[in-house]
């Protein structure tokens, strides 16, 4: 048992830190540290930079052009990126669909799709949830009928994150109604430029366009875009869920946001306020405990062992902590967390010229503008990716059968 990293791990961390410091554009880091709006181009810029270095698929094995890092190295990479203020990598390509293609795709599919993912050129979306199938994913209804060498897809997906930017989408579709719901599901890769694909925005409660409905109306999908066997899609889905479990806690970002919370508390004159400061202290304990729990899982995974009973807790706790720090930031902003100024979420907004280019309460409160938007937006974290209620069901299952 020991806490400190090995010399190799420390050297690795230093290498990553240096590279990120030299390659992460300052304007992107500023937006991330300020929780301002990120455009498709912002996200793509960072993806291409990582892609050029061969680090966009940071979880990939060497054989597929990845760095072949172990769990601890992946964690250190993620932490360095998070603390430096790098934009969140849109996970649907490199983190989600790629491992499925590696595990279940044909060599042809791997040659065809992985390079575009690794380079950051191709934007992928995830077509899982449906209006009637949220927690109960297996009940999904989007149909894919095999007609000759193609599938005809009809149905609707929803909560499709950033699909408005998507080039391709991987979908769970129903190819059979026999047996129990999980059987009869297939894993399809669909070109979003195909005729019959319609993307409709869903605005979230903070007024942002982040999720969508994706409609499929007699969309023709070549059969060679089926991954794995027909009706074996559930196996792919489970593989995807099993992959990358530690970063789900998002503790690295939590550490960065705790630092930001402290800056905001100082700016708002709350740092010396015992009552508020204690709230930060409690959160600090929560975050340290979560980080230790993550490190325990990493240590087990590096040792080639699963510690599922703990890993299952990471999403629950991580999302609770995300909501807590956004809540405390909003409370720290106080009255100046109230204004909703859509355009002020853009970097460089200078306030209203009529008032001499100032903000509600003055430029001293400019950092308050995004606080409530983030708080509102983050209510999603305990709902998506398997609601925390479903997560608790799973944890209880391991304890009680």
């Amino acid at each position: 048992m020991q806490l400190s990293f090995t010399d190799e791990e420390i050297a690795f961390r230093a290498e990553v830190r240096t590279w990120v410091a030299e390659n992460l554009p300052a304007d992107l880091a500023a937006k991330v540290h300020g929780a301002l709006r990120l455009s498709r181009e912002d996200l793509q810029r960072w993806a291409r930079i990582l892609g050029a270095k061969g680090w966009l698929g940071w979880g990939w094995p060497k054989e597929f052009g990845g760095p072949g890092w172990n769990a601890v190295q992946r964690h250190l990479f993620e932490e360095e990126c998070a603390l430096a203020g790098a934009p969140r990598v849109v996970p649907f390509g490199p983190v989600m669909v790629a491992p499925v293609i590696m595990a279940f795709g044909t060599p042809e599919q791997q040659r065809r799709f992985l390079p575009g993912i690794a380079s950051g050129e191709v934007w992928w979306s995830q077509g899982y949830s449906e209006p009637g199938s949220g927690s109960d994913l297996a009940s999904l209804k989007t149909r894919a009928e095999r007609v000759g060498d193609r599938y005809i897809v009809n149905g609707q997906k929803t909560w499709t994150t950033l699909a408005q930017h998507g080039d391709w989408i991987f979908c769970l579709v129903r190819t059979s109604n026999e047996g129990k719901p999980q059987t009869g599901i297939s894993f399809l890769l669909i070109d979003m430029k195909s005729p019959g694909v319609t993307v409709r925005p869903i605005l979230t409660l903070d007024g942002e366009h982040e999720v969508n409905e994706v409609w499929f109306d007699d969309v023709e999908v070549p059969a060679d875009q089926l991954v794995g066997q027909e009706n074996q899609g559930w196996t792919c889905a489970k593989h995807l869920l099993a992959h990358e479990r530690t970063n789900i806690a998002d503790v690295n970002r939590a550490k960065r946001e705790l630092e930001r919370l402290k800056r905001i508390a100082r700016a708002e004159g709350l740092w010396e306020d015992t009552r508020f400061r204690d709230q930060i202290a409690l959160l600090e304990v929560d975050i340290v405990a979560l980080e230790m729990m993550v490190l325990r899982v990493l240590s087990a995974e590096r040792g080639g062992r699963q510690s599922l009973d703990v890993a299952g807790l990471l999403k629950i706790r991580g999302s609770e902590i995300q909501q807590r720090y956004t809540e405390l930031m909003m409370l720290a902003g106080g009255p100046y967390s109230l204004p909703f100024i859509f355009e002020a979420m853009e970097a460089g907004w200078q306030g209203d010229a009529a008032l001499g280019g100032v903000w509600p309460g003055g430029a001293a409160h400019a950092h308050c503008i995004p606080l409530t938007s983030t708080y509102l937006n983050y209510r999603k974290t305990t709902i998506y990716g398997g609601s925390n209620e479903v997560q608790r069901n799973i944890v209880a299952q391991t304890l009680l059968g």
Binding site: G134, I202, L355, P360, H365, I383
Partner: protein, 376 residues
Amino acid sequence: MDFDFSDEQAQLREAVRRWAERAHGFERHRAIVRDEGGDSAAVWAELAGLGLTALAVPEAHGGLGFGPVEAMVVMEELGRGRVGAPYAAAALVAPVLLSGAPEALQAAWLPRIAAGDARVVLAHQESGARYRLDRVETTLAAADGGGRLSGRKSLVPVGDRAEAVIVSARDETGRLALALVQRDAPGVTTRGHLLHDGTRAAEVTFRDAPAYRLSAAGTDALPALEHAADVAIAALCAEAVGLMDFIVALTADYLKTRRQFGVPIASFQALRHRLADCKMALELARSMSYLATLRLADAPELRRRAFAQAKVQLGQSMRFVGQQCVQMHGGIGVTDDYVGAHAFKRLTCMELQWGDTLHHLGQVSAQMQDTAGVFG
């Protein structure tokens, strides 16, 4: 000790509720936010048509002279109906502030307020004040016929559309004073914006703006300001209770309708118990809303203690009910075109108005006596 409403109060509630249901649906609310910047002249005219703008104005000035309980009844229904109009600010707080003003000012403004022709709102928030009413840097310089205001206020309800603003300021003696300034007066600049709950506020700056002093020279206006704040808090509590009534019922309906795993999710005990906890939070909040309203006329010490307790309870209830009702809805609960999400946003903003939970907890903590209870 009686918590029944009179027939008149029941009728008043019924009238406001019927209007909100009939005339102020969610689509209209969204249109007001989208197309009218969160403040609709038509809605204000309809409230006036219902006589509501006259509710708190003394009969001597053309009002109805109703009391806190009637105000609570109206606010509960405006909350249930998700009416974002600045009713508390312009129809309940303003008359209280003006009640201490020189007769001429009262005669000039109260009838117009009662008729719905003028909206007068309080401007108290300053950049460094956080939730403290006595942190005021805006100055009121004496001048013939009144004074001249210089300074800057934030988050003034419909501050760019109201006819006049009542401003807290320091006079030359350093005393806190209240002064009324017309929005179209020289030296007044306003910049309106939305709040996250879809209501409208404005940043207002004053440069030697001509003003009429409300509070007598040589007196400290803080007690009057605190009383006005408590009128606003009582209104906020009542609105929150109506709004929580709405969102808890909305959530119950959703749980009964939404099916997963082949059954209505209302059959899951974890959700059933959480809805029971929401009901608990709601009823505790309603209880403290009653207490606040019924303490409004009491001596400042007793009143302020009860109001701090009430805002702590409301703050906890609003946060818990809002968050949990969204959670129980799942994805639909976080979409902008769902009425529940707007109720949640309003509940969220109300915690940040007139002192958040930690602020008022500090007040309760500082004012604790050896004994405690509803009766002090």
